[in-house]
């Protein structure tokens, strides 16, 4: 009912494999974000999007790419997963004024 969903919720992958996380929103919001959460670091911005095909880097973008071919979908790709990318990943969308809504997160483990 929050209007934003992430998939998968959990994933285990091997080092060196590509991984894509999906974020889907039904609110037609322009701005979407990918964050990673690690103990002792809070949430850090990976990439964000301000419209279809409009994306930009955040604080910790190395090793990640994103795509937004439709307003409702924002994909995060790890081209070649590394153990340092083991984390919990959150997608978020920015609504009216200053309201943000977060997805339920994806726990990614790279072994």
């Amino acid at each position: 009912d929050a209007g934003i969903t992430q998939s998968p919720r959990h994933k285990v992958t091997e080092t060196g494999t590509p991984v894509t996380l999906r974020c889907h929103q039904t609110e037609n919001h322009r701005y979407m974000y990918w964050y990673r959460q690690d103990p002792g670091h809070g949430l850090r911005l990976i990439h964000y999007s301000y419209g279809v095909k409009d994306t930009d880097k955040g604080e910790v973008s190395d090793g990640y790419s994103v795509s937004r071919s439709k307003t409702e979908d924002f994909l995060l790709t790890l081209e070649s997963a590394t153990s340092s990318q083991t984390s919990v990943y959150f997608c978020a969308m920015r609504g009216q004024q200053y309201g943000y809504t977060f997805g339920s997160g994806t726990r990614l483990t790279v072994v």
Partner: protein, 118 residues
């Protein structure tokens, strides 16, 4: 660049008591927004309270209130009558009042883990 600092990695409070979580931030902007988010074990990020910097009045949401000291760049969260369900990770966050580009991004502190003792 703006930064958000939460100096208390962990806090503990007795049920029904009051606890205050600290947050300081650094910015050169005069207008911005501040937020407190709660993250229970379910991982869901839940907005607890928000404050507009141009408002002098401190925000309040039921048992949750803030002490916003703009000159000191301080934004503490007070939880009154603590309940077991308040146990969670709490994040302080900052956002510029500008909407364009990266200025609309949320900047988070590292979080404070709150435990509630029965």
């Amino acid at each position: 660049a703006q930064t958000v600092t939460q100096s208390q990695p962990e806090m503990s409070v007795q049920e029904a008591e009051t606890v205050t979580l600290s947050c300081t931030y650094d910015t050169s902007e005069s207008d911005y927004y501040l937020f407190w988010y709660k993250q229970p074990p379910s991982r869901q990020m839940i907005l607890v309270i928000r404050q507009e910097a141009y408002k002098q009045q401190n925000a309040t949401e039921n048992r949750f209130s803030v002490n916003f000291q703009k000159a000191a760049k301080s934004f503490s969260l007070k939880i009154s009558d603590s309940q077991l369900g308040d146990a969670a990770m709490y994040f302080c966050a900052y956002r510029s009042s500008n909407y364009g580009g990266s200025q609309g991004n949320l900047i988070f502190g590292k979080g404070t883990k709150l435990s509630v003792k029965p």
